[in-house]
């Protein structure tokens, strides 16, 4: 995994610089999502692994599948990746592109896992609290996990704020057994 990210980094950085220069971060982001979805497709990866298919054909095929949604310059990217046999790192490139974009736009995606549904007011509260702490615009996604029993876990990047009842019971258990 570490090796793949190492390979993906220069591609992602280059695409990001290009997209930022053109002011097309959104379009590129969509295109990369699409391309990585195609690359991850089972049928397509069979084709990609087939050595008898010429690389130009493969690139053409990919571009035609993506069709209209492919941003200008996207075709060249596909060609380059096919030529260098790096189609398999497309998901990593897309992921890294998103990280770079989030950093540039000062946004972050946070996930809230809770035992019960979080209403809009509470979501807003969490959002502002996270914004104060991280200094970034926060987009929330909510999930429900009943095994938490109560409270919630907030994940934003590597930061995890665990306020769930399950975690507290666990630490109580370890405090009791000490």
């Amino acid at each position: 995994m570490a090796e793949k990210t190492t390979i993906a980094r220069p591609y992602a950085k280059a695409i990001f610089d290009l997209a930022q220069g053109e002011g097309k971060l959104g379009e590129w982001s969509e295109a990369l999502q699409l391309l990585s979805a195609i690359a991850a497709d089972a049928d397509f990866s069979v084709l990609a692994g087939n050595t008898s298919i010429a690389s130009e054909k493969l690139a053409e095929l990919m571009a035609s599948v993506a069709g209209e949604k492919l941003v200008a310059g996207g075709e060249s990217l596909v060609k380059l990746l096919v030529e260098n046999k790096r189609l398999n790192v497309l998901p990593e490139i897309a992921e890294m592109f998103e990280t770079l974009r989030a950093e540039a736009e000062k946004t972050i995606e946070a996930e809230v896992v809770s035992a019960f549904e979080v209403d809009a007011a509470a979501q807003d509260k969490i959002k502002t609290a996270l914004k104060n702490r991280l200094g970034r615009e926060v987009t929330l996604t909510c999930k429900i996990d009943e095994s938490l029993m109560g409270g919630a876990i907030v994940r934003a990047g590597d930061l995890v704020i665990d306020g769930s009842a399950a975690a507290q019971l666990k630490s109580l258990a370890s405090a009791m057994s000490r």
Partner: protein, 513 residues
């Protein structure tokens, strides 16, 4: 102790009452790869180098390699339960161990957890395992002795408080025995001891613990054990953990002695960890920083001045210096002191005690090679009487070594040479000493005095050991005042010399051996 059900419920109530409910924010990552006690972790963007990280199941690790996309960490403990994809948490703490007086008399592992079954250790203080050694301003020169109770060492390669004296030799030459004797002799000296066992058989460690207990020296000793079955990471950090425990005494204005048994195995463990972390190998496959591995450890053994002690204790302890004396042990292969690790440690330490297989097998125990053993700073720390009397012994042995080759043509040699050979033979005999039988300053002084003043010259070489024993018994009962005076003051002048001479003359006239 039996608890009634009501007491149990009371205790549980208390614990629940005192339990603080808190949400904790932490930095997390996931295990990408785990093998041979080394994990690669993705995430952990806030981790510090040397930080403790928590794996599921309460197992801790230490982050060592901070790379662009991943963190390389060693696992301290059992790593069988950890699998790919597990969550890893930062603790925000650099690896630390408990310190304090409560550890004395206990056997702990490299993380300071008790492993002797004597219950939990009640300490309030702790200290990071990796610490920077005291600086130049904080230090004081070595001028007080650590008495090992071994004639050969105290007379010829004296160790001072705050010194680093290497014990080096092949396997089975009595390296551990020398160190254990030195610890046993600190029973009443006020010097606290730390014995760090690295990569040894658990049975050997148990034997050392038993011996210390037998001789009443366990109560002021901490045993830090990383056995051969502990992970390489534990063996690698054990000396630093022991050092942190010893530093506690040093920083509180007390004196401490630490034995690292042995640093060769620690270097092996570090080599293993480094290679698994994919650090480039160098000479003998050791990583590039194997010199720093030992130098930063041994620099922490030092003597610090009273001002520094006052500063470190916040004014609680005034006018007392602190010291940590280190006796690192290195095992050589076939007497090769020019291998990588031995040369490193020889150059770091303030001298070495060189033990030889040949001497050991010919019955000279401790098997100290008087020619190759040196102490670079200990001379300034010797007690007056041993310093005065020890010089002669060293000279006699040096002359004897030069002439020993001619010993078989003794009849063709002139009177002086023959005299020197005979004297050397007796002094060599005199330097023998039983294990676990440390000598007091006075006993040692009498032995050295007897050799210097020629009292041994007409004693059969084979009888020297018996002579010495009888002499010690005699002076103890017939010159007890003199013995007490020497033990108390360790002074030496013409008057004391005269008294010693009288006592020995009397013994030779009346005693039997």
């Amino acid at each position: 102790m039996q608890l009634t059900p009501s007491e149990i419920s009371e205790q549980i109530k208390n614990r629940i009452k005192n339990f603080e409910v808190s949400t904790n924010a932490s930095n997390e990552g996931t295990v990408v790869n785990i093998a041979d006690g080394v994990a690669t972790v993705h995430g952990l963007s806030d981790v510090m180098s040397g930080e403790m990280i928590e794996f599921p199941g309460g197992i801790y690790g230490m982050a060592l390699n901070l790379e662009r996309d991943s963190v390389g960490a060693v696992i301290l403990g059992a790593y069988e339960g950890i699998s790919e994809g597990d969550t890893v948490k930062c603790t925000g703490r650099i690896l630390e161990v408990p310190t304090g007086d409560a550890l004395l008399g206990r056997v702990v592992d490299a993380l300071g957890n008790p492993i002797d079954g004597k219950g939990p250790i009640e300490t309030t203080t702790s200290s990071p395992v990796e610490k920077i050694a005291p600086g130049v301003i904080a230090r004081k020169s070595v001028d007080e002795p650590v008495e090992t109770g071994l004639k050969a060492i105290d007379a010829m390669v004296p160790v001072g408080r705050g010194q680093r004296e290497l014990i080096i030799g092949d396997r089975q030459t009595g390296k551990t025995a020398v160190a254990v004797d030195a610890i046993i002799n600190q029973k009443n000296s006020g010097i606290k001891c730390v014995y760090v066992a690295i990569g040894q058989k658990a049975s050997s460690i148990a034997a050392v613990v038993r011996k210390l207990e037998e001789h009443g020296a366990l109560d002021n000793t901490i045993i830090v054990a990383a056995t051969a079955s502990d992970s390489a990471a534990m063996q690698f950090i054990a000396p630093y953990a022991g050092c942190a425990m010893g530093e506690y005494f040093r920083d509180n204005g007390e004196d401490a002695l630490i034995v690292y048994d042995d640093l060769t195995k620690q270097a092996w463990a570090y080599r293993q960890v480094s290679l698994l972390l994919r650090r480039p190998p160098g000479r003998e496959a050791y990583p590039g920083d194997v010199f720093y591995l030992h130098s930063r450890l041994l620099e922490r053994a030092s003597r610090i001045n009273a001002d520094e002690v006052e500063k470190l204790t916040g004014g609680r302890v005034k006018g007392k210096t602190g010291s940590l004396t280190a006796l690192p042990i290195i095992e050589t292969q076939g007497g090769d002191v020019s291998a990588f690790v031995p040369t490193n440690v020889i150059s770091i330490t303030d001298g070495q005690i060189f033990l030889e297989t040949d001497l050991f097998n010919s019955g000279i125990r401790p098997a100290i090679n008087a020619g190759l053993s040196v102490s670079r700073v200990g001379g300034a720390a010797q007690t007056k009487i041993i310093k005065k009397l020890g010089g002669g012994v060293r000279l006699d042995l040096a002359q004897y070594r030069e002439l020993a080759a001619f010993a078989q043509f003794a009849s063709d040699l002139d009177e002086t040479t023959r005299g020197q050979i005979e004297r050397g033979r007796r002094v060599t005999e005199l330097m023998k000493q039983k294990q676990y039988a440390p000598l007091s300053t006075a006993d040692m002084a009498f032995s050295l005095f007897a050799a210097n003043e020629g009292f041994l010259d007409d004693v059969d070489a084979a009888k020297v050991v018996d002579f010495e024993e009888a002499m010690h018994a005699y002076v103890k009962s017939n010159a007890s005042e003199l013995v007490a005076e020497i033990n108390d003051t360790a002074n030496y002048n013409d008057e004391i010399a005269g008294k010693m001479k009288d006592a020995l003359t009397q013994f030779k006239a009346n005693g039997t051996w």
